[in-house]
Amino acid sequence: MTGQPILQVQEVTKTFGGIIALNRVSFEVREGEILGIIGPNGSGKTTVVNCITGFVKVTAGRVFFRGRDITSRPPHQIAGLGVTRTFQIMRPYYSLPAYKNLVIPLFSPRARRTGGWRGGGRMGDRNTVGIDILEEIGFERDSYVPYKVTSTLPTGYLKRLELARCLALKPELIICDEVFSGLSMSEIASMVPLIERLQMEGITLIMIEHRLRELFQVANRVMVLNFGEKLVEGSSGEVMADARVREAYFGSEAVEEVMVHA
């Protein structure tokens, strides 16, 4: 994976009042790769997502997407460039059926230009396009699942729906905020190939995770955050071998155990 850098985050700092959530964090993502971001709770992972996608204003530093400065642009413009995200706490439109959830991103200027995930040019009926996307992401078309009201769907489908919303925009970069958390083992097992397929189709991904084993399966590189600072970056093996990571992230004894399992 030695593509061009698609996203560059330079010295990004974010403070909330007196609390420093992110302190001069820099990294870049190359085209077509999967970058994992891990770190203990409160280490600023979600803040990184919010800073990149414009949901919070960056205090200092810059973010570039394909060489274009997107620092602190409004979220809809950033998403319109193809930098999409999922939410850790799922945010579907609970009162609508699942496939209608996709009508909203498909209505956006970007989707109208691109025609949705598979689209090339003009968009057809948004409902049909939405159901197609849902089917590709694991909603069984012939069951009632895509037509059910979203509030009745289980977590696994809601996580997929989050991804589907990104796909409807024909994304270049998807930032997944903990897509594995809250899922059962079998649900995760079916999610991993999906992520791999997205990568094969040329979508770049940033994955923020707590589930290390599954993350290490798919991620090309991993970055570790701790207390808002970047600790280390490298392949999963390098990261796990790093003494500072063990110290900060796992606690000194727990490391052996995780190493054994992984």
Binding site: A79, F87, Y93, L96, K100, F107, S108, R110, R165
Partner: protein, 339 residues
């Protein structure tokens, strides 16, 4: 399970399929067709026939007023339940539309049938512009600001003595004929009622509802939330201004009382009584409330007390409303008997 005979079971399953594809199956028999069309037909024919049933001029005028209020109530329902903005200022829209139409008529000498659409669009744009600062914000700001504008505008007009001051603008032309005056508002109510019902089910309407449901997700879907809120407000404000413009031409007078509280409160009360989120409910509520309030006219401001108490009671204790209740009962009819 075992008690259920195969035929009963089949019927049950078929019924389930039919419910899911109601639109398609409805065309298969006159029964189904009438089931869907009858309520709408009753509404349309009833509303169009209502003026003929009324004994005198006075009650015909009341019908027009009902329709004016119904437009406002539909706007309130649309904004509150499909865009997620609570507007406490129906009077703001009425006043703006009314004064604009009056100005167009008196200053520019345009005929009423041109003034009304002009005031609708201009008023919609003006109200949207004035409300724009509070649109990007969540919370109660929209309610607060819409409550304040009519109070404030009335006071500004009074204090500066512009636009006729406390006397208002007099000598506004009425509609060309009584017949047009009567039916214009009724047709407008029907058009906007069915138009908005259609709108909220289109893709654009879904986006508006999504903004209400979860604005963060809409932003993550590359949509400008403020733009869609502004669009919703523009649609609502235009209809409100239209109501105001019609009112001014019916009364042939535009004054500070177009900013009066009645226009803010009664539509809300009607919506809550009629059933919010249905768009038809508000019309039903107005059909009940406005005549009652006409009967109470002798008691002065007591009628505002009356609406507010109804409003309070329905909001706090019976938030469902008549229409939602009625719809549920209607759908419970055993209608899938013959398969």
């Amino acid at each position: 399970m075992s008690a259920e005979t195969p035929s009963r079971r089949r019927e049950r399953i078929d019924r389930g399929i039919k419910v899911r594809t109601a639109g398609l199956y409805a065309l298969m028999s006159w029964r189904e067709l009438s089931y869907l069309i009858l309520p709408r037909l009753v509404l349309i024919v009833g509303l169009l026939g209502l003026p003929m049933m009324m004994p005198g001029m006075y009650w015909k005028r009341v019908i027009s007023i009902v329709c004016i209020y119904a437009l406002l109530a539909i706007v309130f329902d649309f904004l509150a339940h499909f865009v997620g903005l609570v507007s406490l200022g129906g009077a703001f829209f009425v006043g703006t539309g009314g004064y604009l139409s009056a100005i167009l008529n008196i200053k520019l000498g345009l005929p009423p049938l041109l003034c009304v659409p002009g005031a609708t669009l201009l008023g919609g744009a003006l109200c949207t512009l004035l409300l724009l600062p509070c649109l990007p914000l969540r919370g109660v700001y929209f309610a607060i600001v819409t409550l304040m504008y009519p109070l404030l505008l009335a006071r500004v007009i009074e204090a500066l003595n512009i636009l006729g001051g406390t006397d208002g603008i007099m000598g506004i032309d009425s509609f060309p004929s009584a017949w047009i005056e009567q039916y214009l508002v009724i047709v407008l109510v029907l058009v906007f009622l069915f138009g908005l019902r259609r709108l909220v089910n289109t893709d654009l309407g879904l986006v508006l509802r999504a903004v209400k449901d979860n604005d963060q997700a809409v932003r993550a879907s590359a949509m400008n939330v403020t733009f869609y809120k502004a669009l919703g407000v523009f649609i609502g404000a235009s209809i409100g201004c239209l109501a105001g413009a019609c009112l001014v031409h019916i009364y042939m007078w535009a004054g500070i009382s177009t900013f009066a509280l009645d226009f803010s409160v009664l539509p809300i009360a009607a919506t809550v009584i009629g059933g919010s989120g249905t768009l038809v409910g508000p019309l039903l509520g107005c059909l009940i409330l406005v005549p009652v309030s006409e009967l109470l006219r002798d008691f002065g401001t007591l009628r505002i007390v009356f609406y507010s108490l109804i409003l309070l009671g329905f909001t706090v204790f019976r938030s469902e409303g008549l229409m939602v209740f009625g719809q549920r009962k209607y759908h419970q009819f055993e209608r899938w008997k013959s398969i």
